[in-house]
């Protein structure tokens, strides 16, 4: 087959397409993507072993268009390569006859594709003929059979041997066509480096011998020219390729006018051949222009590398560990919450609770005393413990606001769990009871907001009378204030002071105690208590 032809449709490619092969073009006839890729030769350049097997390599850019690839390879690619043999090369000159006594040793072993899951591509025009009749001119020499590199071997697709090989292979021991593992399978043993270097249609001697399951591509036109190395001749004959199923309707194509490419004597045991070749001389890099037919597998492997991610290398493991660490860190940051939110926000909300209107000055003092109000307890019982009257309603209105603010705060797991635990143990029962009592006092103090001004006026009048020395009048005034606002403790305080001025110690003590009962958190609680004690001592003394 000519290197200028499309490997799929076998049509000759235009010059423009050939020139663009390096960048990747499509076949204008069958839309097959073609690309020229460099290839590293694994065989010694100067050896007799031809480094290039049956190939589609078009020596396009390096040689003139009108020059054939074979000649170009001969001149430049492999100086020590065998000269082009005539198409009807005699069998003794072929490597097939030298290497193995097998009747069809020149069956080209398929090249293993670098992409594991690639199905084999059966080229329509390249399938070998089904007829078992060998071609007379090509029977002696093994025909050139090329296998596209991208055509991954399919289990059901048999290798397409050459016509001569096919007839021989049918009679000789078959070679198993191994099934290629899929992408989801365990990673297969890595092929030798020489075999993996060139993802091209060209296979080296080792790779060709190693990959027997690749669907071969028949290259009918070029006459078979074989060149076998003496080293390879010493090797045992490769196992013949089994032909499990006859290739369907392979028509013998007429020989192409283009001189054939170098035919590699295939079917050499892969490892031995590789060892032999590497022992002689290390492989030298050589570029071969090869058309690559991309397939779905390769596209998948390129587009979604994660699908083919296997933690086989240290770098991959490091990347995976880093990704896992980053994910965990982000999760921690998202789920973590600052523990400073509950107390600060609640305290800020508590300060925003308004005072209930209509509360007298002592009650205002009570509100200003630094004690936890009932309505400000987070998630405590509702503040309407027996609330009565409008002031109680106001207090109850203020309390739910505080509760709502507390509840609208984001849940702080730590402090809420602690609070729930303490609540379960009953530690907050006394606190709630005390708050309920305070709320009741506050509600009673604000029970009659209409009489509060009159009570206040009576209290002021009692003060004036008390300062002027009219203790009796002061007692009367204070009693009136108490009557007008029985929940207001200031009347009792004034009444106690007035009774004290009059020398009525018992009444003074009772009034002052009543004041302390109504205003347990008053600012002057200490002074009143001390006064009560002094009055008690005075009363006890004769």
């Amino acid at each position: 087959m000519s290197s200028r032809n499309c490997p799929k449709c076998q049509r000759e490619l235009p010059i423009e397409v050939l020139r663009g092969l390096e960048q990747g073009v499509e076949c204008p006839y069958c839309a097959t993507r073609l690309k020229r890729t460099p290839r590293r030769a694994s065989t010694p350049a100067g050896g007799d072993q031809a480094a290039f097997a049956a190939s589609y390599t078009p020596p396009l850019l390096a040689q003139p268009i009108d020059e054939d690839s074979f000649g170009w390879f001969q001149k430049k690619g492999a100086p020590g390569a065998a000269a082009p043999s005539p198409p009807a090369a005699s069998p003794p000159t072929t490597s097939a006859s030298a290497v193995a006594p097998s009747p069809a040793p020149s069956v080209v072993a398929p090249v293993r594709s670098p992409f594991r899951s690639l199905p084999s591509v059966a080229m329509p025009g390249l399938t070998p003929p089904t007829s078992a009749a060998p071609e007379p001119p090509r029977a002696a020499a093994a025909p050139v059979i090329a296998a596209p590199p991208v055509a991954s071997p399919a289990p059901a697709t048999p290798a397409a041997p050459a016509p001569a090989a096919r007839t021989a292979a049918a009679a000789t021991a078959p070679t198993e066509v191994q099934k290629r593992p899929s992408l989801l399978d365990t990673s297969p043993p890595r092929p030798p480096a020489e075999a993996r270097r060139a993802p091209t249609l060209i296979g080296t001697a080792a790779s060709l011998a190693e990959k027997p399951s690749l669907a071969p591509v028949d290259k009918p036109p070029p006459p078979p020219v074989e060149k076998s190395s003496p080293r390879l001749a010493d090797k045992p004959s490769p196992p013949p390729v089994e032909k499990r199923s006859p290739p369907p309707a392979l028509k013998p194509s007429p020989p192409a006018p283009v001189p054939p490419a170098v035919v590699h004597p295939v079917a050499v045991e892969p490892q031995r051949a590789a060892l032999a070749m590497t022992a002689v001389e290390p492989p030298r890099a050589a570029l071969a222009m090869t058309a690559v037919i991309p397939s779905t597998g390769s596209t998948l492997a390129l587009a979604a590398p994660s699908l083919g991610f296997l933690p086989r290398s240290r770098r991959n493991l490091a990347v995976a560990a880093g990704a896992a660490t980053l994910t965990v860190a982000v999760a921690i940051l998202l789920t973590h919450r600052s523990p400073a939110d509950p107390q600060g926000s609640v305290a800020a909300d508590l300060s925003a609770v308004p005072k209930p209107p209509g509360v007298s000055a002592p009650l205002a003092v009570l509100h200003e005393t630094p004690r936890p109000p009932t309505t400000l307890e987070p998630l405590a019982a509702p503040a309407a413990h027996g609330a009565k009257g409008a002031a109680a309603d106001d207090a109850a209105k203020a309390a739910p606001q505080a509760h709502e603010r507390v509840r609208t705060t984001p849940p702080a797991a730590a402090h809420q769990r602690r609070y729930a635990k303490q609540e379960k143990r009953g530690k907050h029962a006394r606190h709630d009871k005390r708050n309920a009592r305070r709320t009741e006092v506050a509600s009673r103090a604000a029970a009659s907001p209409g009489n509060d001004s009159e009570a206040r006026a009576s209290y002021e009048r009692g003060n004036t009378l008390l300062f002027s020395g009219d203790a009796a009048g002061a007692v009367t005034a204070y009693q009136k204030a108490v009557a007008l606002a029985p929940a207001d403790p200031i009347g009792y305080r004034g009444l106690g002071l007035a009774h004290e001025q009059r020398g009525e110690t018992g009444a003074a003590i009772r009034a002052l105690r009543k004041y302390l009962k109504l205003a347990p958190g008053a600012a002057d609680r200490e002074i009143i208590s001390r006064r009560i004690a002094r009055l008690g001592r005075a009363a006890s003394q004769p």
Partner: protein, 173 residues
Amino acid sequence: MSSAAAEPRTERERFRVLSAVLLLALGCASRSPPPPRTAQKAAPPARLTWLPAESTAGRGLAKAVNEQLGQVSLPGARASVKSAVSMEVAQLAIECTEPTPSCYGAVGRSLGADEMLWAELGGGGSSRDVRVALLLYDVRAGAAPRRVERTFDSVDAARAGVAALADALRASR
């Protein structure tokens, strides 16, 4: 004949009007002499009110202190007047129990006093020690009260030393 007699009459009237206007203008233009300076009214004497001490440390001491407080006379002040209530009762009544000038001022305004004098009795470092402090507060000035304080070994010593303490307070004024 009648017209000739009328003309000098009208001229005479004009002359009179003009002279009256001229005199009036001169009178308005002239500066009145300053009124004779009268003697400035002397500021009324301050109403000094002393507030009795309550018997916290002992009746004898409180009584002695109150006697001395009643005898205190300050220059420029009237004779002191005893308040019906103590400073503590007054503060409790007006709901301002803080020992601040504002609360003292409120008490003074409630009592109608310009100056207040009172005593604070308390215990000293030991159980027998008696601390006696005399305070004088000017309600009109609103400044901090002037204070003299002394600790005595016993109630008797305090009772005897209150007079000297009052003299010290008077001298400090």
